[in-house]
Symmetry: C2
Subunit: 782 residues, 2 copies
Amino acid sequence: MNQKNYILWDNSGWIVNVKSFLPDYLAKTESVFCQGNGRLGLRAVTEESYCGMVRNMFVNGTFNRFSENEVTELPNLPDMTAFEIYINGHSFSLLKGNFLDYTLSLNLYNGKLKREFIWISPEQHKFKMVFERFVSMTERDLVGMKISITPLNCDCEVLIKTGIDGQMTNSGSQHFEEGESCVLPGNILQMCSKTTNSDVFVVNQVNLESYIDGWRIEKPFSVTIGRRKITAKGEYVLSPKQTLSIEKLALVITSRDIYFDGKQNRPSTYYKTYAETRGGHIFNNNFDFHFGQSEKTWKKVWNEIDIEISASSNRDQTFLRFAMYHLMIMTDIKDSRMGIGAKGLSGEGYKGHSFWDTEIFIMPFFLFTQPDVARIILSYRGKSLPGAYAKAKKYGYKGAMFPWESAWLDDGEVTPDWGGTDIVTGKAMEILTGHLEQHISADIAFAIYQYYVATDDTSFMEQFGYEIVLGTAEFWLSRIEIDAEGIGHINDVIGPDEYKEHVNDNAFTNHLVFHNLAVAEEFYDTLMQNNSTLLDKLVEKTNFNIDKCREIKEKLYLPQVNSQGLMEQFEGYFNLSEIDLTKYKNASTVGNIYNDYNMKMLSQIKVSKQADTLLLMLLLENVFPEECKKKNYYYYEAKTLHDSSLSKCSHSILAADIGLLDEAYKFFKEGMLTDFGDNLLSSDEGIHSACMGGIWQSVVMGFGGIRIAEEGLRINPVLPKEWNSLKFSIYWRGIRTEISINGKNITVKNEGNKSLNFSHRGQEYWLEPRKKLVFYSNNERE
Amino acid sequence: MNQKNYILWDNSGWIVNVKSFLPDYLAKTESVFCQGNGRLGLRAVTEESYCGMVRNMFVNGTFNRFSENEVTELPNLPDMTAFEIYINGHSFSLLKGNFLDYTLSLNLYNGKLKREFIWISPEQHKFKMVFERFVSMTERDLVGMKISITPLNCDCEVLIKTGIDGQMTNSGSQHFEEGESCVLPGNILQMCSKTTNSDVFVVNQVNLESYIDGWRIEKPFSVTIGRRKITAKGEYVLSPKQTLSIEKLALVITSRDIYFDGKQNRPSTYYKTYAETRGGHIFNNNFDFHFGQSEKTWKKVWNEIDIEISASSNRDQTFLRFAMYHLMIMTDIKDSRMGIGAKGLSGEGYKGHSFWDTEIFIMPFFLFTQPDVARIILSYRGKSLPGAYAKAKKYGYKGAMFPWESAWLDDGEVTPDWGGTDIVTGKAMEILTGHLEQHISADIAFAIYQYYVATDDTSFMEQFGYEIVLGTAEFWLSRIEIDAEGIGHINDVIGPDEYKEHVNDNAFTNHLVFHNLAVAEEFYDTLMQNNSTLLDKLVEKTNFNIDKCREIKEKLYLPQVNSQGLMEQFEGYFNLSEIDLTKYKNASTVGNIYNDYNMKMLSQIKVSKQADTLLLMLLLENVFPEECKKKNYYYYEAKTLHDSSLSKCSHSILAADIGLLDEAYKFFKEGMLTDFGDNLLSSDEGIHSACMGGIWQSVVMGFGGIRIAEEGLRINPVLPKEWNSLKFSIYWRGIRTEISINGKNITVKNEGNKSLNFSHRGQEYWLEPRKKLVFYSNNERE
């Protein structure tokens, strides 16, 4: 279902909004306008309730497993956003009566969500209603809400019911045991609960204040404690034009919070007491104060990460910022015990699990804008090594085999066993990725190497980086099968193209594995020279065998292009049959091919869900000449349905690399519109995290031409004709560097205090601190 | 919140309906219009969804405990009632557009729920919509649904989504692990699930058919399997005046079903296969066929139980039938492994638990109309004896101490520990009834004796009856405390009046215990004479000691009336303070006193939640002379808030007994209107089961004057001035007896084949089969 121009932008370049209320498609704005701070994520649900809405609030890392049948997931916390509003005895709903001037807006610059309209009741009474909300970037356990109601042409009685609702589930699975609920002095509501299995203790705490025309009302609330629910009720009488404001400050504390140092097994009273003290501190100030504090933090963030695009429309500028906003709110920048969910903290989709999306699609944003956060992100993999060792062992391998889906550090592999309906059998389809989509181990090693090159962060490398690379290399050494001719194969895998299960010698996988082994060799040699004590320890821990590595690396079969210059996606791909894909390529929604073909049938057809061979050519760009990339681009793109949100950005960057600027812009735009565009159903279970990273990558690595190349930093910008200019900053080995491109020039400015080394169109440059270099831009190249 | 004349009746005396749709008060009709067959209960939810609705479906006996923190409860099963209806692309809701001629009706005679109206869409298109539903009385696992949509002034596209939704919870607690969902041949949807703790396996199975103008549409449905959800989607195009009908037959099978003989631990495939075979059988026929079968069974039921009231309004006639309808759908008349829930199967309230309501308030209906069901009901207590022995042991007593709240046979005491909010402390109140409200053991013994007298069913007595009475007697013998003066006390209890905790020598309790001991003595003597083998066995099992019983029974303190003729409710009651109760007596909702007083404070005031001393005088009527009853009636009624639905019917019957006919009618009417009246919030969590029994008792035992007296059956009818006549039938020792009363005469007709012995106004009569006796009625007495 599409709605033209649903999500709009304004002249500021900072505000996204929608002007219509679509009760059948609530999930769209709930997901896309969600708020958060990396620790806490909150869907942009309306205060009043509608059928089909999903009130999700998550705190990163609080994973729990409902039953042995299910995998661990991020539990939906007790809700604090719901307000029942009764006006003159009738519950308020936008489905009743009528409304004017509806706007739901999200200010990306300060994180405020605002909904306002004039409601005309069935009795023709008019009410100005404003709803504001923020998730604090400063106080990471705080959500602030404010409701303002002004009767415009009548007296009215208003009754408000709100509190804490612990009846929430994850699509029916209840992760919490009900704990104590009570009213604390000062009319503060408190609810305690504990996850059923992982023993995460949660305290929700709420403070309510009400004002009429700015005058605080004393004690208007009475409280009821029900099952998994504590509700305050306030009643007010308003004259025409009087404004009632209800402010609700809501805290959520969990025993997994970073300041509890991982010591989770304290008595529950410890957390209750902590929460009460914290409440005493936070509830001393009001909505506006806390919003101001949060705004300040957002301002600092934007100073670091902002990108400026000048174009005839503000859309790309605004939506790029929207993507960066999402990258910031989905990522816990302080706590390395949790990954980044494939839907961030914006919905129940993928259960809060982390995939390779993190390293390949999201990490580059942080690596280039906030390298300390990139370290946090990669440290999560370091801390997850025990699970990776355990997984390898479980499948009879050695070394570190990373889980395809990851949750809490010691959860190990958490990919569910069953997925959507098989069109042929009518039963749920078995999900094989947990076992077969093994390239993630090489992807993580790839990201480590990128981080290593871009930061020179030896401390991280010694703590985690080397071990991850040697551990994953050792896994591959045990994984590669040497055939009778002495050739090494990696059989029975799933590559990035998930339409193909049980394939042998997937080009992407084999090449990335080769890279993994090569980096292991390089690190081994470096450590042998610089830190043999550490090397000994790591060899003992990972069982990495350098001789075996050198030997098997040489034997590993590395698929090469054929006589037509085409790389076979996996062994036998070229023998598959072709079908007319027009219907699926033109479909407005994804996954339609599953309506006609099941997984077994898909394996027999030349059709890709997403970039696979092309992604290989993007990541290991130096291995493949431009001509080869071009040929394969034309060949594979025609067979790709882009049914994964990871696909379009990869195509965009590769297209920019090979000079297909219109294609590059088209895929950038389509990638950007995955969540922000007209498809009202694309984001039901949350936004596409990797896609947000992909939007940024399309801009900075595609058009901006930034790449971590063999020779170091490469800066090859190309401006699409739709833009007048592009300006962004990156960090390279600690040096902040500003790159700006317009129709005429490319300017590289060293804003750091060391000299910067980079290449541009094959030429190497050294740029001193505070200096800049200006090149002609591509538009002038001809 | 009240709505005058919300539930209406018609001329037939069989149909109840509402003519307005109140989205803020959905629970009222959901509970009161609920459907069932004693095994399965289904709230009368609308097909389309509204916020605040509670889609509850229960199967009796499938108890599960969500966690150690919670008590076992009847789990809310996967829903099969929800239909998403999209008309021309927009979801249908009564909140959108407008509607005309709305009627929701329940036909008590055949159990059909029907909702019909003309919907005017926001585009001013008109649609005639009819929704029909039954829960089969014949096939106890079957629910039938039918939706009919006719566009009146437009073409339209209709999209229907419906299936099985396992995301249901009990106010947030999820009792099921998700099992396999699949599509069976013939487009039958199947969902399996299993309770998390009690391992009850559940199969939901649904068959869908669609018709346009009666012509069956082949295979219109496509199916999606999601998390805990399987959904079929059908799309149709209608011309003006064409009628689309969707029929949905829904089965729910559980491993606790009676035909599985309690062998619950079969492999899940056993139940799946059973369900598939059952589906093959049931789905061979359509909605109309199965509805017809169910109607036939209902007809048989009404032939047995119906009561005729003639009055100027049909209200009392219809609502009395409504009460009997509820008594029938809440009671499993075949399976004695489960009790009757305090809310029947009509809502989550009281978690499906059984209380003394069953024996004292509900059982008499069955005892007099379907004595074989009364046996089933009492057998449940017999089968629960192990839990009663265990509970006594737990508290350091002997014999059988019945749980205050009961669930599955071996669950024992299941009263929750915590309830509503304490107004003073702001915390949840501790619930003490599980430990202290001990009179239930004597109440059960009382009911056994009533059954014994009214049926002469030696077989039941030998199976369970004697053991229950001797076991409970033995409990009391260990419970009674003999003081220094040699007087026996029962200290620290809660009597029927639950405003008073920790009281000593509650008159109701002590007198009922005395009765229990007396009956035990009588049974002991009977058995000694007739069946000493059984007696030996029972004495060994219950440890009942006849000598101790005789001794302690004589020592037990039996409160007597004081010089003013008043019986003290418990020791020290007369010293309590009095407050002005006008505010609470006049309140339109119950429980208001908790807003001002907490339990501790209530214990200090002369205020009763419900009949306590008066109920004693009603149950043990021969112990107390009429004058005594009158005095105490005036004294205690003035201090009673009737905050329990058990209260009004007791007052009504007692008032009828003592000749206060207007009072009797007033309390009958108020009791009847507890659920059926204008208070829209009284039935949120389900109907009041005991109250349904109370309505029947007010009619048959109050005005009908039927009583199991010391001398046997007593028939002392008194007709309230509001009625012209009353006619009902009862069974007495196997003899069906018709009693009819009008302004002139009382006619007693023996319809059995044995002679009937009864008393009327102190005179004993023998009535031969097929004969009748006519007396002057009370209206003629003067």
